[in-house]
């Protein structure tokens, strides 16, 4: 009697919990799908070859594209990678391999605090660090701001990934007479590499989607620019400018530019999966 009652009770609780989870799933899924749907439905119409390759046209003129902003985003994210990836991954490896003691703990704490700093604050810091000394807005300033944004999260992610590599692999390598540094590089980091590449691409995707750090560092530019010392357009700032404008034509362009940004970020996510697929048969 007792047993059957508790069995029924458990079944009810089980169903109830499953229902709660399903509701949560739907609640989380609805905004995601609606964002995708809204951006695709409003932006897809504006997609054309010209949109990717042409410069923006003045208000009232038909056509024109966001080619310079797309290039600017790729360019500044590239600069950010140049600075941020080696520093972030390097710091993470240091934290994992030699990060005991005061220095390591301080660095770890700083990285944690930094990764929580709002991106607009990082934009101000880059403004003070780069824009003011240079005297003008530039792609460098934008790249530095994005790099500062990438480094702490990347360092922490890399540290966790390197720490996940079982110590038994290090022992196996050392027991073969492999020196410490080579063990770290060719066994430990090699094993964590798949995860590190994913972490890098995700931080790149995040940087590509940032607006605040670029607003007063790279500013904007109506023309093509590959000079790192000059103001540079970016997708996110272009979206911002188009969206706050009073013109319907520009609103449509903001939607299409948003779609392009989603596609860029999506491609980076797919790339991270493809790149980290094991080349070995039967790998687990």
């Amino acid at each position: 009697m007792m047993l059957s009652a508790s069995f029924t009770y458990r079944k009810v609780v089980d169903r109830g919990m499953a229902a709660v989870c399903a509701v949560c799933f739907v609640a989380a899924f609805v905004p995601l799908v609606s964002v995708l749907w809204l951006v695709i439905s409003k932006g897809a119409a504006g997609l054309s070859w010209a949109f990717f390759t042409e410069l923006p046209k003045p208000v009232g003129e038909e056509g024109g594209g966001i080619g310079n902003a797309l290039l600017g985003t790729l360019y500044m994210v590239g600069l950010a990678c140049l600075i941020g990836l080696p520093l972030g991954v390097g710091a993470g490896v240091y934290l994992a391999e030699k990060g005991e003691g005061t220095v390591g703990n301080t660095v770890r704490f700083m990285a944690e605090v930094l990764s929580g700093v709002p991106s607009i604050v990082i934009g101000i810091v880059a403004y003070a660090l780069v824009v003011i000394p240079m005297g003008h807005f530039s792609a460098w300033a934008g790249g530095v701001a994005l790099a500062i944004l990438m480094i702490p999260t990347l360092a922490r992610a890399t540290e966790e990934l390197v720490r996940l590599v079982p110590g038994s692999l290090r022992e196996a390598s050392l027991a073969l007479g492999v020196p410490n540094w080579k063990t770290s590089l060719r066994v430990i980091i090699r094993t964590a590499m798949g995860g590190i590449v994913t972490a890098c691409l995700l931080s790149v995707a995040r940087a590509a989607g940032e607006t605040a750090p670029l607003l007063f560092t790279a500013l904007n530019n109506q023309y093509w620019n590959v000079n790192p010392g000059a103001p540079t357009a970016s997708l996110t700032v272009a979206i911002y400018n188009y969206a706050i404008s009073p013109y319907d034509d520009w609103h449509a362009k903001a939607w299409t530019a948003s779609l392009v940004l989603l596609i860029v970020v999506g491609l980076l996510n797919i790339a991270s999966r493809v790149l980290t697929r094991s080349r070995l048969k039967g790998a687990r």
Partner: protein, 283 residues
């Protein structure tokens, strides 16, 4: 319990006088000719304040197998890991005493632990193939990582044959090392250890994670490897010690209680504690 002892176990032992415990034997003079491939003199290992290995002295002759037995936590693994300086990287670990390989003290100043470890190979309790490497690359890892040239294909085949794994993997050398079964992975790790041509092979409970069939294969392998290598094996299983070893050392609470020919340790131990352990009264 009187387990069957293989004929190899009857090789003449060093004519040690029977003192109360081996641990208290006077250490052999350093640098002189000894019959031992590996010789340990008054070895102590500390983990911070914990004195894990206490005044252990013993010797292993070339081309013999020494089994190290004892209850959990008695320091078997700690002892064997001291023989190729695996404690170097453990924070707070400290090793005192002398370990000679071919008469050279491993813990003397100026000894490079990296070069030493190429001569003293190790196989671990759990199979640990490198997950990013194929079967072939795993066996050749010691060569490629150390920049040792030569015909790797030939070496890999020879080591896999020595480890009795060749026939099972020869058609899938490019598959992941981790795609093999547990027993195969352990033989892969043995092949990997053999590829750098060590002279001494340390095995830390190599069969404890394996099923009886895989265990039998590893034991068979130890018999064959003995012809070329000097082997020290830590084992939980007294039957295994009896099957594979020439000599057996019994550790208890960090001390070497007794060491002798395997047959003698199991049938006629000198020490009361050894007898209690091998007859299953504790442990």
């Amino acid at each position: 319990m009187t387990p069957a002892v293989p004929a190899q176990a009857m090789t003449p032992e060093r004519p040690a006088p029977p003192p109360p415990t081996v641990a208290q034997q006077p250490p052999l003079t350093a640098g002189t000719e000894t019959p031992f491939k590996v010789e340990v003199q008054d070895l102590n290992v500390y983990f911070r304040a914990n004195h894990a290995i206490r005044h252990v002295s013993l010797g292993v002759k070339p081309q013999t197998v020494l089994a190290v037995i004892g209850p959990s936590g008695c320091g078997k693994s700690t002892f064997i890991r001291a023989l190729n300086r695996m404690h170097d990287l453990v924070p707070g670990a400290r090793v005192e005493g002398k370990v000679f390989v071919d008469g050279k003290d491993l813990y003397a100043r100026g000894i490079d632990p990296v070069l030493l470890r190429r001569r003293v190979g190790m196989v671990f309790q759990r199979p640990n193939p490198f997950p990013t490497m194929s079967i072939f690359e795993n066996v050749a890892a010691g060569l490629t990582l150390n920049g040792i040239g030569g015909n790797h294909a030939e070496i890999v085949e020879r080591c896999l044959r020595q480890a009795a794994l060749w026939d099972e993997v020869k058609d899938r050398l490019k598959h992941a090392g981790t795609s093999l079964s547990g027993g195969q992975q352990q033989r892969l790790c043995i092949a990997r250890a053999l590829a750098v041509e060590p002279e001494v092979l340390l095995m830390d409970e190599p069969a404890s994670a394996l099923d009886p069939i895989a265990t039998a294969k590893i034991e068979e392998l130890i018999h064959e490897l003995k012809e070329k290598y000097t082997i020290v094996i830590v084992t939980h299983s007294m039957q295994q010690a009896a099957r594979v070893s020439d000599n057996t050392a019994f550790f208890y609470l960090g001390e070497l209680i007794e060491m002798g020919q395997t047959a003698q340790i199991f049938t006629n131990p000198r020490e009361r504690r050894t007898e209690d352990y091998v007859t299953g009264k504790f442990g």
